[in-house]
């Protein structure tokens, strides 16, 4: 239009409407399905990785001594408490003897009686032997009848057997007395080895059944970690591998150790492989038994090979692979994976070469039709 008065107005209107139209176009093109998906691309690196396994374990003692009476009874006294150090052979408590002493005294009396009976049998036997000898001589001189001599001889034999019986009776009583006496000694609860008392289950006066634990003790030197590894990620686990142990109570302190053995029996229910890890050096103070630990086992470093971040892995149509960027186009490349480390790096056995460009991060799931825009930072993610 050639009218300046109009033009001014028109310009003003355009000044409002044009930015609106531009904004509208911008909005239409940059949002919605027309908009390209911002992605961050990465390069397949050629490097070696040190795979590691991660497991959760609890502090356990390898040797646990559960001490209790061998028969039902009442606890009389306990001299140790939880946390006490005890020596091997130390008496740590005693069961109430109840009637044992009386039974011992009865056995003493029974023994004396048996001894007396033995002596009586000896005397009888001695007399019978002498009689038999005398009648034998008298028979030889024909001063007594044969019948009488034979009777005396028989008497002698009978008393001899009576003597044997009295002897055996005595040894029975003695043995019995010794058994009761041994029982009396077994009332003492004795520490089998030196160690640490970790629990005290009964108090004096408690009645316990045979085999029930009264005091539990461990050998502190035998503390180890019972670690569980998920079976899927337990590949390469074997004895002797170094391990880093992190106690839940001391997150900043890394303890070192190694795998003592991998248990031949796995946990079928939880689908975990079990292993024992021992400390290189026992932590001081000793961690409580049962404390949760995180154990990282380092596997041998692998030779160099193409390595990608695990964030790049996608599954498309049931195939595992990565989105490869070639000339601004997306292509899904199937990969065969090797080992992975705990920092999210995965070795690629097949499918990719070092130097290939792949999509690592994307704002949306990608498909072969997706338009992409390679950016440095994704919105909302702090660099």
């Amino acid at each position: 239009m050639k009218w300046p008065a109009m033009q001014k107005r028109t310009l003003a209107l355009l000044a409002v409407l044009l930015p609106l139209a531009v904004l509208f176009l911008y909005v239409a093109l940059t949002s919605g399905p027309l908009a390209p998906v911002p992605v961050i691309a990465g390069t397949v690196e050629n490097r070696s990785i040190a795979p590691a396994l991660f497991g959760i374990g609890t502090i356990e003692a390898r040797f646990r001594y559960r001490i209790g009476p061998t028969f039902a009874g009442r606890v009389q006294r306990l001299e140790v408490d939880v946390g006490d150090q005890v020596q091997g052979g130390q008496v740590i408590g005693e069961m109430d003897p109840v009637d044992l002493d009386d039974r011992l005294r009865a056995m003493d009396a029974a023994q004396k009686r048996a001894e007396a009976q033995l002596r009586e049998a000896e005397v009888r036997n001695d007399h019978a032997r002498k009689e038999a000898h005398r009648y034998q001589l008298a028979f030889r001189e024909r001063s007594v009848s044969e019948e009488i001599a034979a009777a005396k001889q028989q008497e002698n034999l009978v008393t001899e057997e009576g003597l044997k019986a009295a002897r055996e009776e005595l040894s029975r009583i003695v043995a019995e007395r010794q058994a009761v006496k041994a029982l009396r000694t077994d009332l003492k609860l004795v520490a089998p080895v030196g160690g640490l008392v970790v629990s005290r289950e009964g108090e004096p006066g408690t009645t316990v059944v045979a085999g029930q634990v009264v005091v539990e003790m461990i050998d502190p030197a035998s503390v180890w970690v019972d670690v569980r590894f998920d079976q899927i990620t337990a590949q390469g686990l074997k004895a002797g591998l170094p391990a880093r142990i992190l106690l839940r109570s001391q997150e900043n302190r890394v303890l070192t150790g190694r795998i003592l053995r991998v248990e031949p029996l796995a946990d079928a229910v939880t689908e975990e492989t079990l292993a024992k890890v021992i400390f290189d050096e026992l932590p001081e103070p000793l961690p409580p038994i049962g404390e949760l630990t995180e154990v990282t086992v380092s596997l041998p470093t692998l030779p160099e090979g193409p390595v990608i971040p695990n964030a790049a892995l996608q599954r498309s149509d049931g195939q595992l692979g990565v989105w490869q960027v070639a000339g601004g186009k997306l292509r899904f490349t199937q990969v065969v994976l090797g080992s992975a480390d705990l920092d999210g790096r995965v070795q690629v056995r097949q499918g990719l070469q070092a130097g290939d460009r792949i999509v690592v991060y994307s704002e949306k799931a990608l498909s072969a039709r997706s338009r992409i825009k390679v950016v440095e930072h994704l919105s909302g993610v702090e660099p």
């Binding site: 009218w3 300046p4 008065a5 109009m6």
Partner: protein
């Protein structure tokens, strides 16, 4: 007359029916020649407005005869098909207030009836600018109506009435809002235009200032017109 200008005979207009019917016009005769400016004077309720509306083809008379130029446009019924085109092309209006279209600039306001008649924009505008120059408002051609003074607006309104060079212009109290000097100026312009474009101009007014300028005056009272010689002063 000679078949130009406007002529009406026996024009009647009745509003309503039956007992409540009102006869606004009871047989009006009027004859205005091209180039002539006549006054139409009457008190309120005299039928002045009704006559103007009938002349302007805004309302339909009840009976009578109207001639515009050589064509009979009404003879107990409209004789032309397109009343709007009739209004647009052959009758010019000038109102008491200018009633310019506020969103069009002066030129387009004047050119609009031409454009409505199908004249190309450029041509219509050129004609408008010429008219505005003739009316001494050529310098305001690009202004918006709101930027004009009352007199300028009225002149623009006159230009709009003239742009299709209609045989007749109906001016309804064109000088009412103006002071006497400007009112007389408007009347002078109307006279000039009437002469220049051979247009019959009917000025409805009761403005004492301008009544003496008419050579011929129609008085209207109770729906009947009376013709009278005017003083015809001032423009010779």
């Amino acid at each position: 007359m000679d078949g130009k200008g406007i002529g009406i005979t026996g024009l009647k207009k009745r509003y309503g029916r039956g007992d409540t019917a009102v006869d606004a016009l009871k047989g009006v005769d009027m004859e205005v020649a091209p180039g002539e400016v006549v006054g139409l004077i009457g008190p309120s309720g005299s039928g002045k407005s009704t006559l103007l509306k009938c002349l302007g083809a805004v309302i339909e008379p009840t009976s009578g005869r109207m001639r515009l130029g050589a064509e009979v446009i009404y003879d107990d019924g409209w004789k032309v098909k397109d009343i709007r085109a009739l209004r647009r092309d052959r009758i010019g209006f000038v109102f008491q207030a200018p009633y310019l279209i506020p969103f069009l600039d002066v030129t387009d306001n004047v050119a609009l009836p031409s454009m409505l008649a199908g004249v190309a924009n450029a041509e219509a505008r050129q004609r408008a600018v010429e008219l505005l120059q003739a009316l001494d408002v050529g310098h305001r051609a690009r202004a918006m109506p709101s930027q004009l003074s009352g007199g300028e607006q009225q002149r623009v309104a006159i230009a709009r009435g003239l742009v299709n060079q209609p045989p007749v212009i109906l001016a309804d109290e064109p000088t009412a809002p103006l002071d006497s000097e400007r009112a007389l100026a408007v009347i002078r312009i109307l006279n000039e235009m009437a002469r220049k474009f051979e247009t019959a101009i009917i000025v409805v007014t009761h403005d004492e200032k301008i009544i003496p300028t008419f050579k011929r005056i129609y008085h209207i009272r109770d729906g009947v017109t009376y013709e009278e010689e005017g003083e015809g002063r001032g423009f010779e």
